[in-house]
Structures are given as structure tokens and as C-alpha cells.
Symmetry: C2
Subunit: 348 residues, 2 copies
């Protein structure tokens, strides 16, 4: 390997093309599995593909498992990372530490043999797949034999002994959502969670109710009867609205009805479909906030949409990282038996 | 006209296609110049086309004025509004109140004959152009004869007597930027303004210095020598960095140098070019904020970018509307003779 020392903490030394960008912006990165003195080598056991990405791959493969395997391998061969060229998204991985670069060893809380999940996107993680062991079509997970590199600035979480690793992988993938919810919701708030029946949405509804308390009001929204029923059974949402959030007016009217026209202090958008910006904006009260976790959010639709209807709302770009988010999300599984049961059913 | 009464405060009754969306999301709206009882009819004198949109139109026209006129008229004929199909953006207009719907008359602070600027985007405003009078190629402005409709929820500002109307139009177009800056900057903050030599950037640098005070530090960034020179002459920026913000590392290093590695509490992004998200993120300190005014911002690049480098920063979608933003921006011209001189040179 010909990387100069010291190598970049952001992994810029592994960018092949185009030059001058960071690994995430690169089309192709170098996945040579020899580490520099500030990199970490991981023996990978499973990938958790981003939901939008895995849905696209399954569609491209017409639901055929062998074809999914081929596409997954093809992406990594072409780009040196599992960075879906159609959706632009990645995912995360779990594995065991094989080797720690000399300038990091002893200075970080990792040792060879530790089991970790990476908390940075697969869209910037050097990866080599040697064998695809099993594809879990309903869980967005792929068991593999392979290796990966973590850069010096790369985030990770050590996997706990008391939580199944597949369940940990599933919840760590969306760890930013409940952590940001915990920061944003104040006691007594009215909170709308769009997509409240999905993986990140369920965690947001749970966390929002915990923070808003009995004087607060949490409203879960989903177009699907099944998801609404699940929200009702879990019991954390004060109201469940079966509404399609792409119908901005229908959503506004439904939220208006259950809030007596007061609307929401905070709207958390957790759906991975397009055209839900306006419904989010119209459901928020003047001077309220909107947190967009959806990777399908259009920046201009949000910016011009709020201005167009004279809504003075703060719209925040969902950041998958928040200090302590991994520990926070794992703690949720420990404190709520219902959440743990649900994640066991769906992801283990 | 066949609109049912009462008509929508959001103007949904004027959507022709596709049905079920708001006027901004519509491909085509009805620009019949007869008002319903909650609409306002305006005699339009000038359009201020959004900068990104006007740049695209000039390029498409190869700089030919007659061709620009043709494109502008063509957009309005096809869509019933000046909603650039390439950039997705609009602009604003100035004109005189011709008629006020019966359910609004006497209840709002407008009367027939008042001169106003609309503060909602042209991308949702029913417009008819009868004649193009003059195109101001360097000012993004088009003098016309024509009419427009303001919906009940539409925002407007009465034009003041003491400020030239073209100057008012220019500053009101970006009124959200200094208003949001005023909210975000605290005394002693280090603030980076990317694109600090442009129209909205200049206002943000001025406002940021005013709020950050002598213990604060305002850093203006532009790739152009001319813009940097102007920032230095105006004297509000403590540092001026001639750096291309698409080079994320170069920007990070330049900001690091002038802040002794502390980085910015707040980055305000005012450039209308792509791929400046990562530079913004790397220039911000942990737990800092980024305000994206740029309509070229990619939501996923911002969201995944911050996660990819483990930056716990709050990234806010620029909202062109903030309560009182019009009055706020006009007041800047009254309090700063230098700002007024600059806007007179550039836009009158």
C-alpha cells in the first residue's frame, strides 16, 4: 500500500475518484484491506442495508434472492463501499475488531476481539465482501464474510452482551431518531410523528410520549391500518391518524381536529416517501419545529413551502448522529419490555 | 369564474393540475384575473426573479435580452405563474393594489392604491404578463405590465416612502436571511458566512457582526477576489477568506487557521452552488449550528455528511419567512448608510 503517513482522519487517502472529495462524495474508494496507522480493520459478519437502498435493490432484483446478492456484491466491487448509486444511501455493519492502527492503539476504548457496530454510513466505509452467507429479505440485513475499515473519525458502538446483535444492529441503524426526539420534546408538547408505525417512528413515538408526559399529546400518523393498529396496541400515542401524509390538507385537517385547531409544537417526519414536506409544515403551529428524518425530503420543497404559506417554523435536517445516541437507543430496549418484544419479533 | 365560495386561503381552488396539491406544487394554476372574496388583485410593475432562476434563464437565452423576455413570458403562459421548471424557484413582485376581496376588505391593513411587494414566492402566485417593458439583465429584475393575485395566506409588505422601490424589492427578496441571522447569533459567537460577498451574504455579515459584537468574530468566505475586497472595504467581517467552499478541506483549514482550531459556532451558507454542505459541516464546531439558505443544498448530502464525520451539529433549512422579516430588512438600510449606498449602486 502506498498511503502516506500520517493518513487522513477522514479517510481522504482512500479516495480514488473523483479526487478532492471526502470518501462519501467519492464514486470509488480504495478497499485494500491493509490499514494505515490511524485506521481500524474489522472482520464483518453482517450488513444492515439502509431501508430505502434495500427496497430499491429488491425491486431491481424482482424479489429474487440470488439477484439481490449479485447486486450487493456488484456495488461493492464497483465502488469499494456499499453505496447504492440509485438512492445515494448506505447502511451500517457489525463485526469484530481484527487490528488497530499503531497511532490509535491504547488511545481508544477498543481492543482486538471486541464486537462493534459501525455508526458511520456504509456509503463511506471501505468494504470487501468475500462471501454472501445469507440474505434476510424482510430485515434489510445481509450476513457476509468480509472485511471493512473504520477511519479515525469513524463512529462505532461496542455491542452489549444483553442484547441480541441483530436487534442491536436494527436499533442502532436509527439511533439518531429517538436521541434527537429526546432533545426536542418538552413536557406538555403536542408532537406529531409522521410514519409513527415504522422502525424509527415507533422509537420516536415512545420517546416523545416519555418526554411530553401526561399533559403532552403524541399523535402517530400512518396511511396503513396495520401500522395504526400497532401504534394503538403499543399505547404510547394519544391519537392515531390513518392519513396519507402526501395529502397535505387531509393531514392538516386531521391534526387540527384532534388538537382543536392548535396544531403541533413539533412534527417529526420519519417516512421515506416523497412529497410529505407540505403536510408536515401545515400540521405545525406558528413558531413550531419540524424534524425531517426522511431521506426523501426535498430541501427546496421544505424551504419554499414554508415561505409560501407564511409559516415561521424551524425546519431541521435530520442528523443521524447525536452525542451518546447509541447508548441512548440501546437503553430504550432495556427500559421497555414492549419495545424489546417488538424488535425481537421483527429483527431477531 | 366558477370558483366555489368560500375559496381556499391557500389558493387550492386555482390549482389546475395535478389536482390535490397546493399552488406551489402544481404544474399549472388558473391565472384568471377575477378575484374571489378572499383574494387580492395586484397591478404588477416589476418582477424580481430568483437569482438561481434568472441565471438559468440567461444561460438558456445565451444572454440575449429578447430571448429572455420570450422565456419569461413562456413560463407564465404555460404555468399561470413564474415558476421556473428547471430550478423550481420563483421570485417576488411589486405592484399596486387594484381590488380587495369582500371578505378581506377592512380586515387587513391594505387599501386600494397601496404599493406592495409580495413576500410569497412567484412559484405559487397567479400571474398574467400583458407586456414586458424592460429587462434588467444585471439585477434579476423585469419591468412588466400585468396582474397578479395574492391569496388570503399570502404575505406582503407595504413599500415605504423613504426607500427606492427597486432597492426595497432587492432587499425584501432576501429578507429572511438577516432576520434569521439576528435570531441565531449570540454575543461573542464565531460566525462563518459562506458567500459573504453576495446579496444575502452581505446582509448576514452585517447582521452577524452587529449581534456577535466586538468579542465575536465574523468570517466572510468567497472564492472571488472582488467579493473579498468588497467585504474588506465594508469592514464588518473580522476575517475574509478567499476560498472555494466546494473544497471542504481547504475551507476547514482556512477557518481553523483564523479561529486557532476552535471553528465556528454558526455557519450561514448563502451560496447558490452545489457541494458546499461538507465544507459547511467541517467548519462548524461540535454542537454548533448551520443555517442553509442556499437553494442548491442537498438534503441527503447534509444529513449523511454530518453523520459520516461524527458531527453533532444542528442543520437548519433556510426559511425565507420569519415574523417581521420585511420590516427588519428595510430597517437595515435606514441604520447603515454603507449598506444603503451599496444597494443603491447595485440595484437602483
Amino acid at each position: 500500500m502506498t498511503f502516506t503517513t500520517p493518513s487522513s482522519p477522514y479517510g481522504i487517502h482512500r479516495v480514488i475518484e473523483p479526487q478532492g472529495v471526502l470518501p462519501q462524495g467519492a464514486w470509488k474508494i480504495d478497499n485494500t484491506m491493509e490499514i494505515t496507522d490511524n485506521e481500524i480493520l474489522i472482520d464483518v459478519s453482517a450488513l444492515n442495508i439502509d431501508a430505502a437502498s434495500f427496497t430499491q435493490i429488491k425491486q431491481e432484483a424482482n424479489g429474487d434472492e440470488a439477484k439481490v446478492a449479485e447486486i450487493v456484491k456488484g456495488i461493492v466491487e464497483k465502488r469499494g463501499k456499499h453505496h447504492n448509486p440509485v438512492t445515494g444511501s448506505g447502511g451500517m455493519l457489525i463485526g469484530t475488531i481484527l487490528e488497530i492502527g499503531s497511532s490509535l492503539a491504547g488511545k481508544i476504548d477498543l481492543k482486538v476481539g471486541d464486537k462493534i457496530a459501525t455508526l458511520v454510513s456504509l456509503s463511506l466505509t471501505p468494504l470487501r465482501i468475500d462471501e454472501i452467507v445469507k440474505i434476510h429479505m424482510q430485515k434489510d440485513q445481509v450476513d457476509i464474510k468480509g472485511k471493512a475499515i473504520l477511519f479515525e473519525t469513524g463512529l462505532y458502538a461496542k455491542l452489549p452482551d444483553d442484547i441480541d446483535e441483530k436487534m442491536a444492529l436494527a436499533i442502532l441503524d436509527v439511533a439518531g431518531a429517538p436521541a434527537q426526539t429526546a432533545r426536542l420534546v418538552k413536557e406538555g408538547d403536542t408532537v406529531v410523528v409522521i410514519g409513527g408505525g415504522g422502525k424509527s417512528g415507533t422509537l420516536c413515538v415512545y420517546e416523545a410520549k416519555k418526554r411530553a408526559g401526561k399533559n403532552g399529546c403524541v399523535i402517530g400518523v400512518s396511511p396503513f391500518e396495520k401500522d395504526c393498529k400497532r401504534m394503538q396496541e403499543l399505547g404510547w400515542a394519544d391519537h392515531t391518524l390513518q392519513v396519507d401524509a402526501t395529502n397535505a390538507l387531509a393531514l392538516m385537517e386531521a391534526v387540527s381536529k384532534v388538537t382543536n385547531g392548535a396544531m403541533a409544537d413539533l412534527v417529526i417526519n420519519c417516512v421515506n416517501i416523497q412529497n410529505t414536506e407540505m403536510g408536515s409544515i401545515l400540521s405545525t403551529k406558528q413558531h413550531g419545529k419540524i424534524y425531517f428524518f426522511s431521506m426523501a425530503t426535498s430541501f427546496t420543497a421544505a424551504a419554499l413551502g414554508a415561505e409560501g404559506v407564511g409559516k415561521d417554523v424551524e425546519m431541521i435536517v435530520g442528523n443521524g448522529y447525536a452525542t451518546g445516541h447509541a447508548e441512548h437507543s440501546l437503553a430504550l430496549l432495556r427500559e421497555s419490555e414492549k419495545l424489546r418484544q417488538l424488535f425481537t419479533e421483527l429483527y431477531v
